[in-house]
Symmetry: D2
Subunit: 358 residues, 4 copies
């Protein structure tokens, strides 16, 4: 079995929270209605609505790529444009899934430091896609990543400002919340405040990276936009016959604040790791540590030494950093990710390794 005390490559490689695993086991016994009509799935979707304090339409799927691509395909038609950060997961890391599900819709990347789209950049980009100009893909949706790909977090004011611009231009606003809980805990606000109250129309509500096994919810705060979703999900092959697998996970995830506890643990671990590393000579901050990811810059040769000593993490080539802050020749920007499972011992091991191979 793979276990590595110095593995900070991704929260995708973490295990599963025991409560969630127990819920899967409980749900798996005996007969249940198929295709999401089971009690577990129904309860899970009701629970999502309670958490977000509003009427909504929620659908469970097994992967984040499916959640994002399906959500965007419900918001944009094939001849339309979807606006995202130029280094966002939907644009760079899903092998064209959004274009596939949205029938060839165009993803338009917007540059921005620290993984964030600014209001100015959004306006400038929208100006290049005039509504009614037939030769131009028509603007349909904006998608924001919260946590961003740079591990940073949009403030509520920032979300509101972007959503307002988008809505004025006739766009729907989607949030890629693969690390939703980590952002929520960091901001200390309610799920409603970070979403529909700030102008979010649809959400990929992730659980997999935060202790589930394979579960995300696609949430529509405007239920009319979900009208076609059951068909989209089915023809995407994402309607599980034993849908309780998903319902059981989400039910346990939202039970007694488990999801918030897990995210808080991951965030705390990241902060501890960040503080330890930036205290070392020759290591500097790329982007602030706001959730469960740590982005730093140091000499490339130092990173090679760390890797040789057993540390696992990713180099992170990026254009989302100001030239004066960017890695210089011989330097590398790198990422470490913590999870709900990360222990102090693992962090200490990494820090010790780093000190030993400075």
């Amino acid at each position: 079995m793979e276990t590595n005390p110095v593995n900070f490559a991704s929260d995708n490689s973490a295990g599963v929270a025991p409560q969630i695993l127990q819920s899967i086991a409980a749900a798996s016994a005996g007969a249940a209605a198929a295709y999401g009509a089971d009690d577990w799935s129904q309860r899970a979707c009701q629970r999502v609505a309670e958490i977000f304090e509003t009427e909504l339409a929620a659908y469970l799927v097994a992967t984040g790529t499916a959640a994002n691509a399906l959500a965007l395909s419900a918001l944009a038609r094939p001849w339309e444009a979807i606006f995202c950060h130029e280094e966002s997961h939907v644009h760079d890391d899903e092998c064209g899934a959004p274009e596939f599900f949205a029938g060839g819709a165009k993803l338009v990347g917007i540059p921005g430091y620290a993984g964030k789209i600014t209001p100015e950049a959004l306006k400038e980009t929208l100006a290049r896609f005039p509504r009614g100009l037939v030769k131009s893909c028509q603007p349909a949706a904006l998608t924001l990543s919260q946590v961003t790909e740079a591990g940073t977090i949009y403030g509520l004011d920032e979300i509101r400002a972007l959503a307002e611009i988008a809505h004025e231009a006739g766009l729907s606003v989607h949030m890629d919340g693969a690390r939703f809980a980590n952002a929520l805990v960091a901001l200390g606000c309610t799920p409603a405040e970070m979403t529909w109250k700030a102008g979010i129309d649809a959400l990929s509500f992730g659980a997999t990276k935060n202790g589930a096994l394979a579960c995300e919810a696609v949430v529509f705060f405007d239920k009319r936009k979900a009208e076609a979703f059951p068909y989209l999900r089915k023809r995407g092959g994402h309607t599980l016959s034993k849908g309780r697998l998903l319902g059981a996970q989400m039910t346990a995830y939202l039970q007694d604040g488990l999801w918030l506890d897990l995210a808080a643990q991951a965030n705390t671990a990241a902060r501890r790791l960040f503080d330890g590393l930036v205290a070392m000579p020759g290591v500097r901050v790329a982007w602030p540590c706001e959730a469960n990811e740590v982005f730093l810059i140091t000499e490339s040769q130092r990173l090679e030494r760390w890797r040789a000593a057993g540390a696992k993490f990713h180099d992170w080539p990026t254009r989302a950093i100001a030239p004066e802050a960017a890695p210089q020749l011989g330097e590398t920007l790198f990422r470490l990710v913590t999870s709900f499972e990360t222990t102090d011992a693992e962090i200490d091991a990494l820090l010790a390794l780093a000190r030993a191979h400075r």
Copy 2:
């Protein structure tokens, strides 16, 4: 929780085999490589190759619709045609998933009694799609369901005959094996004999209906046809980040013949149910019971009485039956499905119910 001793609606509503559930639990602890690079998934794919006694390329996914649609999209290009039985699952029950994944390729339904395509019908249909005729979608793939939608099974000779015609016409041959194990146990042959030795090029190897939670393998016996599959699966949102969920299921499923035992139990239960029902006056056979499904015909009003008494099963409208055998006015063709979990007590309950409400 839904439990019903007289529920024979679908093998999709059955639970999960304990061995498979334990495997999921074991795999979920602690860190593992993401996206199918974990040990469980690697082992599972090796095990599939051993079972089929050949080199092959195997990919795990969570749903049967994904397995079928992805497999077919690897075999047919967007301007090509895929031939299937006119009442097959890919054609009728996947909301257009194959067309979606294959970029608009055309599914061509072929009629045939008892869910089977005959060599004559295949030849006649292929004659309508001349190779090189530009206005005509070009023939690319044949897909056979084993078990068929009528609960029947192609004999090895039948598979070979169809595959030979298909190959001569330049088509690849896919098998939808959502109930692969049930067919295999019924035929008493080896996995290799029922697939690549009979001319099958790609297989949807189902486990979900036979005791897994959410797991199917897409198997390519011609590895060159799998070249693009990792990209197809990824952009379909079907590459699980914690891929061990799938690897753990398939590993346990294939361990110590579990998969064959589960299928044998389901088939035995179906046979017992079938024998009990056809012994009743007014009930006649629609199609022979060859695997884990029972298709019968009786008075529609009788079925209403059974339902009122608590029995759950599906009416089964079909054109795949000879006019002289088809339901007459006032009659209905109906389906009952057993699973690995079906108990003698459940069968007895259904039979008692049927007798009480004859």
Copy 3:
């Protein structure tokens, strides 16, 4: 240059009416607004509205396949179903264009003698696609060919009956009018009567087969359904930069009843050809001659003699004929098509040839 006095293969091989050619020449001189904003195109679309005596949205394209596929893509979403005769042009002769433009929507062929869908067959087929059943492509559109692929014509009552069933089931109704004028002249009704007054929502209004060079109009009688059409046409590559090519053709086509005169000539020629051939021993009627196509049955060897003598026409394999009327062993069903250019001399030549090689 290809000229053949005994060529009855297709109205696609006919030339261009002089008035239309002159109009193209007139429109081609000097500058004009691009992309259909020119005067010729604007006038043409107004003229279409006048001809149909209603407000409508009309768009010009260069091919019939484009007209059909674009129209259907405006009426059906990717997870929906489009119903058509099983031997219709959209299903058999466009290499999957409707599936392509409609993002993978499913074409469902309905059998029917003489190229026609009957109300009963439509109802039976619709019953297999229940609205709201997620696993089933959702019914979206019915498309009727007028003239049919069998050269027959739907009566106004027949159109009304089918449209009524379709509308009740929530479908839009499209007419493939590649030979619209031939049908109109045969029925002796108005364009409005044969379309929107009978329940047609969208029309492919053909001119190419009837004397134009490359021009069809896509007409929406319900303008709301045309909302996205300019984008669909553009991204399909079907918005001509020098759009006056299309506008000039349609303007001339509709000027002073030219289109009706051309169609009347073609129909009259077909009738003369039909009468001459059926008078011959050994030649019998496959389908009645109602427009500009002749479908007959005779000994296959006789047709070989005709071909050897220089006659050009197509064999016509079909399932749209009752078993008792169908070609027997040694017989072939064949098609001859006349056009506005067909002369009495050409017909006489064919008849003489047929008599000489009986």
Copy 4:
């Protein structure tokens, strides 16, 4: 009719060369084989091969968008990436046609001054799309515009350098030659030198902007890459039934060097216009005038005066210009286009207007 002596908005609004119009008329008389099997189309494709001095596969279509989108769909599969200049026509002006035809493939825009991609920028961009990285769309094709969207021309060395990088990375190279003749005349090289000898694999060979009515050829120098093209064109609705419309245009276009003469006229007119305008105070060069387009910068208010006086041209917002050369506050970058029809009188009229409203 629209005529305006001071209209320099686009070469799309120009008329048609008389020789081409006569050829259409000649081809339109009488019967001919359909769907491009006619003599005119066959001759045209042979003529293209002669002009390019090599064996090739050529296909005629009616629009530039169709040519580009179809060509790219033959070079890239749905999960692959197509690299282009970020302001190229395929990316900005075709409403997503390449994404549509290529089944959702991703267009990746590369920035570059004066409409050109540099070798460095290409390498940097390719580095972001590692071959074999499953989450990343796989690199498949590079498309270059010759003339570029900035009216500039790639030198042969530049084409060769880019093609070499692309080929080493396993990409095919496409050239969008909507203004191919204008570039060729400017470079003074042979068609072969500007294409396959420099590494171009496929070409959109434009005629419409240079005196044809609606005609482009898609040319594959590697015939194996054209294998599926007839099907792609057909299901795109781009196979004209009276294909001679296209064959007649291309035949006349390539006859006796007409195409080169037309382009030379347009280029000469642009140079005269450019020289006249840059001689005026307050007008400066945006990009050099290398073909038939003029890109200048001046005070925005001056342009308003010109427009008020009757001049027609386009503002040209762009990022493809160095900050120090870019329009300052109160300035606008604008474009004027000449065509084969542009007369000295029209140029004099524009210059007089500009002087009168300086």
